[in-house]
Amino acid sequence: MSEAARTGAVPARKASPGSVRRAFQPWNDPAAKPLVSFRNVVKRFGNVTAVDDLSLSLYPREFFALLGPSGCGKTTLMRMLAGFETPDAGEILLDGVDITKVPPHRRPINMMFQSYALFPHLSVADNVAYGLRREGLPKPEITRRVEEMLALVKLDGLGKRRPDQLSGGQRQRVALARSLAKRPKLLLLDEPMAALDRKLREATQFELMDLQSELGLTFMVVTHDQDEAMTMADRMAVMSHGKLVQIGPPDVIYEAPATRYVAEFVGDINIIEGRVASVAGDLVTVESATAGTVELDEEAPSLKPGEAIFVGLRPEKITLSHDEPGQGVNKVAGEIWDIGYLGDFTMVQVMVGGEGGQLLKVALANRTRRIARPFAWEDKVWLSWDVEAGLVLPP
Amino acid sequence: MSGRGATARRLVVALPYLWLMLFFLAPFAIVLRIALSEVASAVPPYQPHFEGFSKLGEFLSGLDLGNFKTLLDDVLSGDSLYGASYLYSLRIAALTTLFALLIGYPLAYAMAVAPKRWQGALLVFVVLPFWTSFLIRVYAWMGILGPEGPLDKLLMGLGLTDEPLRLLNTEAAVLIGMVYSYLPFMVLPLFASLQKFDRSLLEAAADLGATPLTAFLTVTLPLSLPGILAGAALVFIPCVSEFVIPDLLGGPDTLMIGGVIWNEVFSNRDWPLASAIAIALLVVLVLPLVLLQRARVARERAA
């Protein structure tokens, strides 16, 4: 799934984003000053700890995504940044200034609400002008800025409409224009794509990224949709039970998840239980009951023989064949139990380690239009993967 | 929260709070207090008087349970005035509720299944009489039910009756007036609950072998029960203490408790007894209300 979204993504960008984005790594620069810092922030509701001693820094011009299941505390974290919740402990700094006690209307931070929260009694233009009016800007300046904003989100000429006369996509753009109109230091986006259908969502994601780099703003998006986070973010954080489990660029999160939780939450993954047999330099050999001997190339493994570990293996990194593969790769024999055709690829479930062993998922890209598939149910097949495909996850 | 915000918040609560303390709680306390006073031929006609808060202790020490004893003695005696009018009020209210339900349910049901574009208009026409004066509606019935009024003429003209029914000043007239006046209070909650009703449930019932009648009795009726209860409460409670309708349409034998209180205040000037009757009436009314509320809470908890 995620692979499909990412391969689909590349041609839609004007320039390859990878090179530009790769150079942008303020979080690795000790001299860089963060725009926002959470310092040991705690927020409780009754006896539920929504945010648990959390520290996090966001950098100027960063596109940051906060990913997690519902109820993990990500929305609370964002609402504390906007000023709608007050932390029970810790502090929040903006440009080095403590804003923990500053009310929402005095924060140079704006938010795009999940429901959009467009004022139903005001026209589109008045919605966009709302924040500017609160600043007491002169009228002509407000008019100019409103037009500029509507042009920016491609809604020129719709200023006189009421929000309920717009489509869902148009409403989202009005909400975006309204929250951008004040040129906030930081824009918060709460599930910005949740109400859009899939096609519109993909197009909007790229527009949002273009807008962000064009305006040079800092965005923080909260989402439970991993595709959305991975497509847009320079850096993302995976949150669980009020804590940040891992922070990093999307490819690092996907290819080198820090925990089993992250590995399973972001993308699809096979988890194989095993014990370390030997460690020779970067090469780790693992013995497992179901998949036999597995060799992994791990950077600086601190593993000791006999240690119980999990091996994570993404489905798209496994090759399926009828004939036994040659030497130099990991391989295991199995039987096909299930085939799920998904259009862009096919997900095959293979039982390895005999009856009562383990089902491994294998993703096969459908490179031709041929309907007759080379694999069928109950086929005896071989799975093989590179030593660089699997990864060691702490138990 | 800024200082100004906190002040504003306090003001928002304080204004209605103080108003209700003064015009609801204080009067109520006074009723309670006066119910425990003696009648006196003075102005105001009760003993002891409230003479400022400085003499509050003295005022409170002179409490007297005599009025409640009078009331109790009356109820226990064979020829009871107050007890009879309590019972009569409950009876009229119950009958009114029943008839309002019998007329209101089919009406509300028909409105709920009527085409959507009619429903708004139908609703307006049910509510419209409510916006015209209550007194006028009762007065209209005085004319209709009165001697040689249009009803008698119509019935005699059709040959259905030989002589005037002379309905005015009878219990029947009171009931007609009550049902008429309180019908919208029954129809509105019924309509609200029937309109929400998912009609595919009836199709499911039919699909499972229910006849239209069984489907109605086993699906529609139980699901509209909250509406029935709400409507019944809205009709029953004000009916018990209704004063104007029995006064104008009823006769000497249709004395309801509202009329009794009215007479004690304005004719007999026995305010302490009127207060005692009022307190007793509240007890009679509050009990079913509490039960209803408890049922509602239980249902909500179950849902």
Partner: protein, 262 residues
């Protein structure tokens, strides 16, 4: 939508006939030239002329209108505040007592409300008249107004207010520019309800007003007690037509607004 069966059409016809026939009879008799109810003396607007000469009744109508205006405004203002306190402030001290006091007048028998206010005004030694009735009407109107506004506030999307604050509006500005415009229809409805209740009230006004102020219902009541007079028929017809025009045009207006919003 299923078509209405004959039974249901009968229910509609019977129900609405029951609701409207008495009113129509009243209207018809207001144009009766004869003084006697039993005799149709031909069409006449005589009684409307007589009504216009009835100073006492016209005075009472004017008093009732002013009373309804004052008490509905006070009831709506206080009821809106009460609704805000009940929906927005969570658990504040004395909340249970407060909500009880707001709602109790809704189920309180009129005679008891009237009696208790009478006793209050006597105890405080206040002269009873226009202002005591206004206070009484504002008190029971408050509860109704509160219910109406509260139901609107409960369905209110709080993120709209958060959005306003996020865009730099202080809580006060947020209330004026977002909350108030959006609950305005409910406030208007609450005011209309309180107005109608005040205009219609006989019992509480009789207790709370004493001989100090004669409202329209008080005058009508004493006239009706004396017997049916065609003048009253004319007065009632005017009131019915006024109410009908106001209610129907208000609902048409609301419907058109809903349509244009779409």
């Amino acid at each position: 939508m299923k078509r209405l069966g004959p039974g249901l059409i009968l229910a509609l016809v019977f129900g609405f006939a029951f609701l409207y026939l008495p009113i129509l009879v009243l209207v018809a008799y207001s144009f009766n030239a004869s003084r006697l109810v039993a005799v149709w003396g031909g069409f006449s607007t005589h009684w409307y002329g007589a009504l216009m000469g009835n100073e006492a009744l016209l005075d009472a109508a004017w008093t009732s209108l002013r009373l309804a205006l004052v008490s509905a405004t006070a009831a709506t203002a206080l009821g809106t505040l009460a609704a805000l306190a009940l929906t927005r402030y969570g658990a504040f001290r004395g909340r249970t007592l407060f909500s009880g006091m707001v709602l109790a007048p809704l189920v309180m028998p009129e005679v008891i409300t009237g009696l208790s206010l009478l006793l209050l005004f006597i105890a405080l030694d206040v002269e009873r008249g226009f202002w005591t009735i206004a206070a009484a009407h504002a008190t029971f109107g408050l509860g109704f107004a509160c219910i109406v506004v509260q139901s609107r506030l409960m369905g209110f999307d709080r993120s709209l207010e958060e959005a306003a604050q996020d865009l730099g509006a202080t809580p006060f500005v947020t209330f004026w520019t977002v909350t108030l415009p959006l609950i305005w229809p409910a406030i208007a409805a609450a005011w209309m309800l309180a107005f109608a209740l005040s205009l219609d009230d006989l019992v509480v006004a009789t207790f709370a007003g004493g001989s100090g102020a004669a409202t329209l219902p008080i005058r009508l009541y004493s006239a009706v007690k004396r017997g049916v007079t065609p003048e009253i028929n004319a007065a009632c017809t005017i009131m019915i037509v006024t109410a009908a025009v106001v209610v129907i045009s208000a609902s048409l207006l609301m419907k058109r607004e809903q349509l244009s919003d779409r």
